[in-house]
């Protein structure tokens, strides 16, 4: 080993250590922010390590510098601007977009190496001709393309730019995807055989496969898909690591790949879905329309904001169940105003967070944290569920499937077995909702029919604003 090699080795080692510490630190609330910065620092360090290595060995041509600077400025600028501007409610689609671009990057690296074999590579003259290299190029392109198109489709669906086409719910889609998968395999084998031109076939069919696999999946399952694609982008990075012979890339890629898989598993558990049914089962709402004939509501009690305020004033313990509807209405700040008033009146307020509240695990915590809700008031499902019988009032805000008692009582329901919040155990339940439409699952919510449930119809933000007014009139929270 010469000096530049030793320096790079040491820097890489430190970078891997810091990245691992970063991921570990991200698992604790207190250390998370520093950990994120540590990981960012490790990434910068790894770039310095790489560049210093080339400066010390082959040198870097002026022309290369120019292209490095162009790519760096454009990529960083767009990334930073988007990250600063995007609202917290569209976090899932933002992560999907970033993720897709990571996949695209791996794809392009493999493509570049495949089309223009770098013959004067310093490490090894015939490395790029070896079988291993062809396989890693193929994997990198295959996984990179699926990650890219899959993430873009996921983003478009979450943004509402793309709906689920009807044909994708029929069995035909399995046939189509199998054709794409087989075509990809043929292209990979042909590529390994030395036929470089089949690389374009691989790019096209694996891109189509990414679209074909993601398109049939319903909005409710999208977070799982994004998490899985996140894992794929790690695998693509690891494959690119084999292509350019970099241990650092392989370690980091493998860590992300493994992390993504674990997270995917956690999300599936929270939604009572198996990964297989998410990937191949199609949209849940399409299934449920066939299986359970949704049924009509028979016993809906609707009430005014005033009644709701009166009940709240008399309560000792209130549990708030926030859902995605709250986030859509951007009402988390208004909600915080309401709970502040209640707290000032000595009423105990707790937020019950279902594992998949919002659109991703932890998404709701982020949104409530944005509204300055103290971290200690956010209770996870298992902790808060025994508290419901001793609770006077439950406010359900834009949540639906996660409070559906069908999941416990009705074994024929598609939701059956999904862990839910037992809000019906409380003395009074107020459901603030725009109308009677079903949740993501498209299934009727038996909670709405129960005698202790009252519906308050209206936009979450407007209802909460009215509630503040009513509470003020009652003298709640005035000091």
């Amino acid at each position: 080993m010469n000096l530049p090699e030793i320096i790079k080795f040491v820097i890489d080692l430190i970078a891997v250590l810091l990245l691992a510490l970063g991921i570990k630190g991200l698992s604790k609330v207190k250390s998370a922010r520093d950990a994120n910065r540590l990981a960012a620092f490790a990434m910068s360090l790894s770039v310095i390590g790489l560049l210093s290595y080339y400066l010390g060995t082959s040198g870097i041509a002026i022309q290369s510098w120019i292209w490095i600077i162009i790519g760096t400025i454009i990529g960083s600028l767009f990334g930073a601007i988007l990250a600063k501007r995007v609202p917290m409610t569209s976090m899932p689609e933002t992560v999907a977009l970033f993720n897709g671009c990571g996949g695209m990057s791996s794809l392009l690296v493999a493509l570049g190496v495949a089309i223009f074999p770098i013959s004067n590579s310093l490490e090894n003259l015939d490395f790029f001709k070896s079988l291993i290299n062809e396989v890693s190029i193929s994997v990198s392109i295959f996984v990179g393309a699926i990650t890219f198109t899959g993430s873009i489709v996921a983003m478009a669906k979450l943004q509402g730019w793309l709906s689920t086409p009807r044909w994708t719910q029929s069995k035909v889609r399995h046939f189509v995807n199998i054709v794409f998968a087989v075509a990809s395999l043929i292209a990979i084998l042909d590529l390994i055989n030395g036929n470089t031109s089949s690389i374009w076939l691989l790019v096209v069919v694996s891109s189509l496969l990414g679209i074909g696999v993601t398109l049939p999946i319903g909005g409710a399952d999208m977070p799982v898909v994004i998490s899985l694609l996140n894992s794929y982008s790690g695998i693509a990075a690891a494959a690119a690591g084999f292509v350019v012979d970099s241990q650092l890339l392989i370690v980091a890629g493998a860590m992300v790949g493994a992390a993504g898989l674990i997270l995917t598993q956690v999300m599936c558990k929270g939604m009572n879905r198996s990964l297989v049914s998410v990937l191949f089962g199609g949209s849940l709402s399409a299934q449920s329309k066939v299986s359970s004939g949704s049924g009509e509501y028979t016993n809906i009690t609707s009430c005014s904001v005033e009644e709701c305020a009166l009940t709240l004033e008399a309560a000792n313990k209130v549990i708030i169940v926030p859902g995605y509807g709250l986030a859509v209405a951007q009402a988390q700040h208004t909600l915080r105003e309401v709970t502040k008033k209640l707290e000032q009146n000595g009423i105990e307020v707790v937020y019950a967070i279902h594992p998949v509240a919002g659109r991703m695990p932890g998404h709701m915590n982020v949104l409530l944290a944005e509204a300055d809700v103290p971290y200690e008031q956010l209770k996870e499902m298992d902790i808060v569920n025994p508290d419901f019988p001793a609770t006077d009032v439950v406010l359900v805000l834009g949540a639906n499937d996660v409070v559906n008692p069908q999941a416990k009582n009705d074994s024929s329901s598609p939701l059956y077995g999904m862990p839910v919040l037992d809000v019906q155990e409380a003395r009074t339940v107020f459901v603030i909702k725009r109308g009677m439409s079903a949740g993501y699952s498209g299934i009727k919510n038996d909670l709405f029919d129960l005698p202790n449930t009252s519906m308050v119809f209206g936009d979450a933000k407007k209802v909460l604003n009215d509630l503040i007014g009513e509470l003020k009139d009652l003298g709640v929270g005035d000091k």
Partner: protein, 97 residues
Amino acid sequence: MSFINLLWVLLLGSLLGLELIGKVPPTLHTPLMSGANAISGITMLAALTLIVKAEGNVPLLIIGSVSLGFALFNVVGGFFVTDRMLAMFSRKPSNKK
């Protein structure tokens, strides 16, 4: 680095990832996903390698540069967005009391 050694690296890296992620509270899943996502932009190193070794091959330089741009979009955007999310958590204790 021989291929076998790289496979070892892959194996140990995966195990490390499984071990590190095992015990994360649901609160942090979205930030964690976004942070891990930023790390997957490490392919920027591969893009850099490509550009440095292109030796005046303009199409390759362009591919490398575009790849670098995509990767950095992922890295910079990912870390910033994660920081934004986490800032909301860490602001709390100091503000409240």
